[in-house]
Symmetry: C2
Subunit: 511 residues, 2 copies
């Protein structure tokens, strides 16, 4: 079958419109506003909520169309959200072309997975490439994530997805045989060991170019916490410079293009509050592989309200992570920790940073559990990386903390990343009191995390929860158990409202 | 644990803003634009893309927030999309209050399903209630649909979902013991029998208050096609009036609130191009139950590129549909038909309407296959509804078509629905020719549907594909096989581009 007139089969005609910067912040979403009576809308058949391909020179972005019926914009104008304006690299007076985007062929691969088929590496690559090119709407992204969560990815698929995620991004390479890295499986509030481990092992001669994510479903990611102490938006050149100079860095992974699909998927996972094993492995390892890591310690806290709830689940996750890591030539070791209560006192970016600083500075009231966990994990890395003899890693790590080498190294890293700064303080605070005397016998990590999120974390850096008690502590009636920190009265009230209707966030048992 | 100051635990403070109608068409999505420096944004910690609860009097809507950085709106204004403005029933000079929405508790039920648990009726009701209240974002909706598609709903869950979908909407009731209804499982282009069946059975004394959907993944739904001949946006009172007067109607189901969740879910299913068995059953039957139907015929076309591809799948779907229908007291019968090629000639709203009119008018060139299929299904209904003796239904239906009673009834129904009108004609057309001589041996229904959609159907009513050949027809090289109709040159070019790169839409074999 052929079309009657070959000339008509060329790609759809392009239309030029004057680009206008509307001054609308839509976050990640590219939005274009065109007049409903605009000739392009009529000739192309565009209607509101269509996805439209915008081009300016070599740059392209797919945007959601909203249509203006009033006199806000002219008929030959295309008004752009900040995200669209910046991705197209536009300047005032510029023009753009608008067309239908190509059909989203890779979506048939997502449907195939929904209908029960496994996906190959090529199929995952097609999906991930389109995701990174911004071709997937929220509906498509959510479907891909949910399909891969509802019938979990098998190991072959996890390998294939990991490889695809690595391949669509940049990769770092290092002049070192041993490049160490660390990942904590989330779900345990306050488990902020990275900014302590990096300066310890870097001070002791290892190379640790750490890139971290922002929060997925938690009140803070390492990048959120670190950002309260130093800039973390380092590009590839910055990371190389800092690591060559100091042996380590603590950067946000999203500012470099290491596994860029991961950052897009994380936003959806966060909205859904899901983070399944296969996706977790692909997410973690695609970043590590792209970062050029050779040796990896995985921190898995286990507890009834941690992300991993039983020793069996921890074993299964460890096995999956290690198998996939080995398939990519990475030596990995797992450290299973106590996940029954939060680590440290603070939950939320700035509150966690305070704990990190106390441990690094050797403050007398520094949280012991955070210090110990950091020493354990740093010890594993020192032994994995053959910087310490077997059984000597922890002592070496503790020594570097105690004699101030880690603190000095941390300050040097912060300076190299753009300058050290003080974590912000919250403007609104309120303690939550024990309703009766007794002994602290449970922490609901999920509810504590939710409380911190309702208070504004991680978007509000100073927001979160500050704990005043640990498991087993005796308390009297009316004694403050924790303090809620917020940056706005609305969010403080919202968090307190949640606390008052959700007993058992911190459980009090018999003395 | 209790909050220190009980006064602060009251719901978050409400903030009043001047409502402004911005004149932005965002379709279904409610959008609110607030200034980035607006005191409410600061005190509540709102950031772009947050979902915000807007209230005006008793009316509520959850809107997506975009933030304005320029001088487009004032600091004490909230500018609203048309959808938000209308759902709040606002007038110029009105004010609205803005707050955080309550936490979306039912999302934990979606997660539970993702993690492998079945959902109960109460759990489905919680989800469906929140969906109908507009609390689910596209991310949430897509996850719910994908979770229920990837590990298919079992029969108990389908029953529970169906019940929940019925319960959150309105229900129609009728002064008739027998209320007949019909549903065709989609996927077969041009299968537009409803506007023929309704006048046949209504002319013969049955009550058939037919509500139809718009297209899900196809180039036209019955409501789209009917709308080219008469208004279909009837409210409950209109439907009662038309049915009491004429015995039948052909209305869009979405204009009344029968299973309103279905219309929201259909939009997402359309974007994903998925439509699974359990969801199909819940979607179809929730509408039928809410419409007060007592007897139902189900039309399932089977063919290699139809939605249902084998006799076994058709049996399974029939069994599921009949079992769930019976559980709700509906007598149902299934008619399995030939799904190897499109029915009739037209694919697309107006082109299908032309076929319908030709059959009703007894035009000499009326498509025989469409006429026969309509007679078969009408015959089943006449027997199910005890208007015809067993084995006599089809003859009775044919008679009503041949003697003009059905055509008269159709015109009366159109007049009662608001006035009969002519289907629009396309402005841009181009034939596709046979590349070689031979005999037509295959139709790829999916590719034909896609071709019609790329040409603009169903949004552009006159767009679509008009077939000139049937299976087995001999063709010569260069003979037109079909004509692509469009309302815009861009879409015509786009469809032709697809045709030129996708051979085998209509397959030509040896003579």
């Amino acid at each position: 079958m052929n079309a009657a007139n070959p000339a008509v089969t060329s790609p759809v005609g392009t239309h030029h419109l004057r680009a206008r910067r509307l001054g609308v912040d839509t976050q990640y979403e590219a939005v274009v506003f065109m007049h409903k009576e605009c000739p392009v809308c009529r000739s192309e058949g565009f209607t509101a909520h269509n996805r439209i391909l915008l081009r300016a020179g070599e740059r392209r972005v797919i945007a959601t169309l909203y249509q203006i019926t009033g006199d806000l914009i002219a008929h030959d104008e295309a008004a752009l959200s900040e995200s669209a304006w910046q991705r197209l690299g536009l300047r005032d007076g510029g023009t753009i072309t608008v067309t239908h985007p190509e059909p989203l062929e890779s979506l048939s691969r997502v449907r195939s997975r929904i209908y029960g088929n496994e996906l190959s590496e090529a199929e995952f690559r097609a999906i991930v490439t389109d995701i990174v090119d911004g071709k997937y709407s929220d509906i498509h992204l959510s479907s891909f994530i949910t399909a891969a969560a509802t019938r979990p990815l098998d190991q072959k698929e996890v390998l294939a997805l990991t490889k695809a995620m690595v391949d669509v991004g940049d990769r770092l390479s290092w002049n070192a045989d041993v490049v160490v890295d660390k990942h904590s499986v989330g779900g345990l509030p306050g488990n902020r060991t990275t900014p302590i481990i990096v300066p310890i092992v870097a001070a002791l001669g290892l190379t640790m170019p750490k890139t971290s994510s922002r929060a997925i479903t938690s009140p803070a990611g390492t990048a959120d916490t670190m950002e309260t102490m130093a800039p973390v938006d380092l590009d590839t050149a910055d990371i190389h410079r800092v690591v060559e100079q100091e042996g380590g860095c603590i950067a946000w992974g999203g500012a470099v293009k290491l596994s860029p699909a991961d950052d897009i998927l994380i936003r959806i996972e966060r909205a859904l509050d899901i983070d399944t094993e296969g996706q977790m492995i692909a997410s973690v390892l695609s970043k590590k592989i792209a970062a050029g890591s050779t040796h990896l310690v995985l921190d898995i806290p286990v507890g009834p309200t941690a992300k991993v709830r039983s020793a069996e689940s921890a074993e299964a996750l460890s096995a999956g992570l290690i198998a996939v890591a080995n398939a990519f030539g990475i030596r990995a070791s797992v450290s299973i920790g106590d996940g029954f209560q939060p680590i440290g006192r603070g939950i939320g970016p700035a509150l966690e940073a305070n704990d990190v600083l106390a441990v690094l500075q050797g403050a007398p009231d520094a949280p012991r559990d955070l210090r110990e966990r950091a020493i354990t994990l740093a010890g594993v890395l020192l032994e994995l990386g053959e910087q310490a003899a077997n059984g000597q890693g922890q002592a070496m790590a503790a020594q570097a903390l105690d004699d101030g080498r880690a603190w000095t190294k941390f300050q040097r890293i912060c300076e190299a990343q753009g300058g050290m700064r003080r974590p912000p303080k919250s403007t609104h605070r309120r303690p939550l009191m024990a309703e009766r005397a007794g002994r602290v016998d449970t922490f609901d990590n999920r509810k504590i995390a939710k409380l911190a999120k309702l208070a504004g974390a991680p978007d509000d850096k100073a927001a979160g929860v500050e704990l005043h008690v640990k498991l087993g502590d005796p308390v009297s009636s009316g004694q403050p158990l924790c303090t809620v920190h917020a940056e706005a009265p609305g969010e403080l009230a919202y968090a307190l409202d949640y606390a008052s209707t959700n007993p058992g966030i911190i459980g009090i048992g018999e003395r």
